[in-house]
Amino acid sequence: MRRMSGRTRDPLLSALISALDAQRVQTGDGARRLYSRDASVIRGGRVGVVCFPETTEEVSACVVAALAHGRDFVARGAGTGLAGGAVPCDEPVMVVLTRMDRILEVDVSRRLAWVEPGVVNLDLSRHLSGTGLHFAPDPSSQQSCTIGGNVANNSGGPHCLLYGVTSAHVLAVEVVLPDGEVVVLGEEEGDSVGYDLRGAFVGGEGTLGIATRICVRLTEDPPDVATLLLDFMSVGAAAETVSAIIAAGMIPAALEMMDQRVVEAVEPFVNAGYPTDAAAVLIVELDGQPSGVADEIRQIKELARVHGARSVRVAAEEGERERIWKGRKSAFGAIAVIKPDYYLNDTVIPRTKLAEVVQRIYEIVEEQDLIVMNVFHAGDGNLHPLLLFDAREAGVMERVLAAGEEIVRVSVAAGGVLSGEHGIGLEKKRFMSLQFSPADLEAQQRLRSAFDPVGRANPAKVLPTGASCGHVTSLGRLPDGAWV
């Protein structure tokens, strides 16, 4: 890009350019606009300057320069976050990690890999194909999101029911702390030495420093996999089946629910053979050794029958398995034919409350005269109500927000939590006091201040203190290949 006159006279810019180079320090309108948004419905402020470091030292230099010139800094991966975590507020230095995208080392015998933060989640799994190992966290955005973003948001995915969310798969992480110092938190092997600072860092949403290298645990591919499709005449019966499966002592690899509106929308796209007249379907995936899988199939068929399933289909071959999953993964693409805009919420409730809370969500949405599709991780009670609307309609955003707020309130009142996957960011910080007392929040602030005593790392996010920033508007496009 061309240097603008006066550009190098700005001391912050000079510092950044001398640490990186002129091409990788951008202040043009296009870059500033592009990097001012993520995949959420949140608008914040504008980026001050966008940097593209390629090494840990360069990341540290960006942080030090921001600090020296009294600016905040914000880390950014692919920008698929749904809570506004990477949205800028006060003209910060935006540190974009996508150029740090190398897989540094794969140790098959010790089942671990070191990667840079900009590696796209699915690229790691592709790279591992043939080794018999995979990276277990599989967020629906895995074709686009980065592993650095997964670490920062402690992301989940359908198969995290059995295998655990990102935190269970991060062994160690190299971090540029908010004062620019570089530390490695965690160990390749064994329990934490001293405080589990690695565990504390994961899920920090960019407010505790910037991850520059990550050591992930790799998981063995299962020898046997079975995918089942169960269909029900009521959401309640499907929800009871979920509880019954868990209560019977089974933890499926994945246990997903789709309601009728989702099924109707995706079936024409994928021809998976979903029953479009069903009120809800469950996708159950079982994996492990063959006898255990066969036994669980038997048990689930019986539980489904007792709880009124109309049918249970066990995918007979790989193609059928893929079609069943493709339907689940196409939900997002299919919504575009219904309404142009969406707002995807994310709360967790006790699994035994699923039927009751999902019913409440239908009522809330109806009261606000909106459309909702429910497609979610039922096995761990992680709701993902997807509100559909047309942002051109006058006053619609107010109704969307009112419905979103009520869904959060109902979830917390049912004994649940604000977020199971997407984090707090800007989106939910005003709800933090619904779940936490002032003393709870103060304890969280203590953790944060130990990492960032001066408060320059993505400061407006997560905790409901400090400056307010950000408002909600309608959302534009989806990342390619993303699904909910």
């Binding site: 655990g164 589990d196 565990g199 899920g203 977020s419 003393a439 103060e442 304890a443």
Partner: protein, 296 residues
């Protein structure tokens, strides 16, 4: 009800807001990380508050003996991914933060704790984490607490993730390389190596266990009693000390005495120091104890 809200209020007032203080659990590792320097000792509430098999969670007083909790859970076909010697408490095992030998199956101890009701150094009660099995709301204080030896907060009551007890468990032993045993198994619960023999714990559906045992018989492995490990711990450095047993894949060596504390880079040390000072500015929680002075 035991360990219910009234007990939590009593625990908070026992802790108070001044003077050096610590929680004594079962005292099974009382000297861990250095002594508590004459701090006043208090006890955490005892008893199971709520056990919900359909949620796979249990709420329990931190002072409850781990064996009592395990005894109740097994009636429901459940277990927690924690292990401690006879007399150890739930809170003590969490605060010491050493994963069970079966970590390959049950997960590390860091994954067990979902919510902790605590009293901070200022005497104020607060809750870390949340009650559901999936939760990314705010910072992960629970993971920070596990292994903190009671130097950041004192824990009164916790919610733990439970897991189904495997239908069948079988230990096998034989003179085979650990790598060959790993290649012949799918996610074994534990693999141990004493320098000559490899022991492996198979758990799961009975027929799968038998089928795998059949494959391992070809490598010369035969059924055995659960191993009794030496009481100390060290970190794997590439060589086994005499009498030591490596827990393959965890980096832990079970040995006669605890190994020395690992070296910690200055930057991590400083961050840890800021963390402790942030939670306990006056240094009243477990003074003298240092989580960085613990072996593997």
């Amino acid at each position: 009800m035991s360990a219910g809200d009234a007990c939590m209020v009593a625990f908070q007032s026992d802790v108070g807001d001044s003077g050096a203080v610590c929680v004594r659990g079962g005292g099974t590792r009382w000297e861990v990380g250095g002594g508590p320097d004459g701090a006043r000792e208090v006890s955490a509430p005892v008893g199971i508050v709520a056990l919900d098999p359909a949620e796979m969670t249990v709420m329990v007083g931190a002072g409850t003996a781990l064996s009592d909790l395990a005894g109740e859970l097994v009636i429901h076909g459940l277990e927690v991914g924690m292990k401690g010697p006879s007399g150890a408490t739930v809170g003590g095992v969490l605060m010491v933060g050493r994963s069970a030998m079966r970590r390959r199956r049950v997960g590390t101890i860091a994954d067990v704790l979902l919510q902790a009701d605590c009293v901070g150094a200022d005497g104020v009660a607060f809750t870390a984490g949340g009650p559901t099995v999936k939760n990314v709301t705010g910072y992960d204080l629970c993971r920070l607490l596990v292994g903190s030896l009671g130097t950041l907060a004192l824990v009164g009551r916790v919610i733990l993730r439970t897991r189904p007890v495997p239908a069948r468990s079988l230990w096998l032993v034989g003179e085979a390389e650990p790598e060959r045993v790993l290649d012949a198994t799918y996610r074994p619960s534990c693999v141990l190596w004493d320098g000559v023999r490899t022991s492996v714990l198979l758990e799961g559906h009975g027929e799968d266990v038998d089928e795998t045992a059949g494959r391992l018989a070809l490598l010369g492995l035969t059924a055995t009693e659960p191993p009794v490990l030496p009481p100390g711990r060290g970190r794997w450095t590439g060589r086994l000390p005499s009498g030591g047993v490596l827990e393959v894949g965890s980096g832990v060596v079970h040995q006669a005495d605890d190994g020395g504390p690992p070296t910690v880079p200055d930057g991590v040390r400083r961050l840890a120091g800021r963390m402790r000072a942030s939670f306990d500015p006056s240094g009243r929680l477990n003074p003298g104890r240092d989580p960085y002075r613990v072996a593997a």
